[in-house]
Amino acid sequence: MGFGLVLWQIFASPDVPYFPPPIEWLRALAALWTSGKLVPAVVVTLSDFAGALALSIVIGSVLGILLGRSKLLDRLFGPALEFGRTMPAGAMVPVAVLIMGYTSSMTLAVVVLTSFWPILLNTRSGAQRISQDRLDTARVLRLSWWETQYKILLPSVLPSIQLGTRTAAPVTLIIVLLVEILTQVSGIGREIAMQQSMFRSAPVYGLVALTGVMGLIVNWLISWAGHLTRKYDPSAANGSEQ
């Protein structure tokens, strides 16, 4: 990818406004930085992203455990899930704006409604797969309901929550930017839309590249968090013998 950028830098003509060379992107970003627009935009986008992802993890794992452990709830809400998870995020923005206005809770609502699905579905199947012997163990050792939840159930579904989060994180970032571009209230998405409407291509490229880097960092952080739990996961540990 670096090689491609170098080639781009060498062969891009400064006369064509559509494909500015990468050095120009950096200059544009630096100009945005000094004008004081870049940092607040990044902060808004990142905090919206983090808030939405955190909320998605909480909602997705709680609902996932409930649906995974209760046949009744699963049968009641299963069909609604199939409908809900295919709902396109962009289509929900106008509705959310109507109801909640141009607020950050509106952004949060739209993003969470899209990004908690992979977490919910993964957690649900993880909760369904918990072995009966493990649950019976909790019963014969007379663990309380609460103890069973956080000592047996939650750790059992943690790998599934993690897997769901890895799928959800890039989606979350994409939807945050999408909402920002559509509503033009704040954040990097708004800056991209503003610069684009003024036909300033270098800042647009620069900001898009910046979101790409953010996505990479997020992915890296999530898989690093996954390694923290590896030590007890026999399927991931080498040399496990039976």
Binding site: S131, D133, R134, D136, T137, R139, V140, L141, R142, L143, S144, E147, K151, I152, P155, T229, K231, Y232, D233, P234, A237, S240, E241, Q242
Partner: protein
């Protein structure tokens, strides 16, 4: 049978125990009209062909499965509704029962965390691990231990709650022959020192004859007691000498006949 402690000598009792399993059309009577009294400190083995309902019976004893409404089931004179205090179940599938994210020590601790202070807990966990000869592996995770060691962790977890009654569902069924024989000797020794009553399910006649003070063979559909015999072997058991003794061979002969013959022997 008398007990020196002066308490009731009966640990466990069931009267007219029947069990139905399944839903709607598929509902079947698995066990019918079973009467059983188990005195304290007895090592009882329940034998039977696979599918006869041994595991179901043990799960009923452990309060994991309900018996029919008119069945009477008592542990230490108290009715069993749900998993009773003082009884612990040991599962055949140790890999599913142990928590992979906890070390051996933390797994053994699991049943004590809500009820025991930290200091007392440490003491009991250490003692339990020493009983099963795993003191050196307290900080290993289950996947670092062999199958036999994992099953010993599960046994230690059961012992740590100081149960009156150990319910063991073919606990050595998934282990190799050598590990199995060692664990049989250990279990017998542990049972003698801890004074727990043990109800042990197996389909292995040799295992039952070696371990038991008393053997029950389940027969029929729905299942009921085929034969009920007391062992005349000495309390101390040894894989070589015990298995050469005439009492062992005689009991083994008798139990084998009862298990293999469909009609079964008479009740003693």
């Amino acid at each position: 049978m008398t007990d020196s402690s002066g308490e009731s000598a009966l640990a466990f009792r069931c009267r007219a125990l029947s069990v139905d399993l399944g839903v709607g059309e598929a509902r079947r009577r698995i066990i019918e009209d079973l009467d059983l009294e188990v005195p304290r400190r007895q090592f009882l083995c329940i034998l039977g062909e696979s599918g006869v309902g041994k595991t179901t019976l043990l799960r009923v004893f452990g309060g994991l499965v309900d018996a029919t409404a008119d069945s009477v089931l008592e542990l230490n004179g108290e009715r069993v509704v749900g998993p009773p205090q003082g009884a612990v179940f040991v599962f055949q599938n140790y890999a599913a029962s142990l928590l992979p994210w906890r070390t051996a020590r933390r797994n053994v601790e699991l049943g004590l965390e809500a009820t025991t202070s930290k200091a007392a807990r440490q003491q009991r966990v250490t003692a339990a691990l020493r009983q099963v000869d795993l003191a050196d592996h307290a900080d290993d995770y289950p996947w670092q231990l062999s199958g036999g060691m994992q099953q010993r962790v599960q046994l230690a977890r059961a012992l740590a709650v100081e149960p009156d009654l150990l319910l063991m569902d073919e606990p050595f069924g998934a282990l190799d022959a050598m590990t199995r024989e060692n664990l049989q000797v250990e279990l017998r020794r542990i049972q003698q020192t801890s004074g727990a009553t043990v109800i042990f399910i197996t389909h292995d006649v040799d295992e039952a004859v070696f371990l038991a003070d008393r053997i029950i063979v389940l027969k029929g559909k729905p299942a009921s007691i085929g034969i009920d015999v007391m062992s005349r072997l000495p309390a101390e058991r040894d894989q070589v000498r015990t298995k050469e003794s005439p009492e062992y061979l005689e009991l083994r002969h008798r139990v084998y006949e009862a298990v293999s013959r469909r009609s079964g022997g008479g009740k003693e």
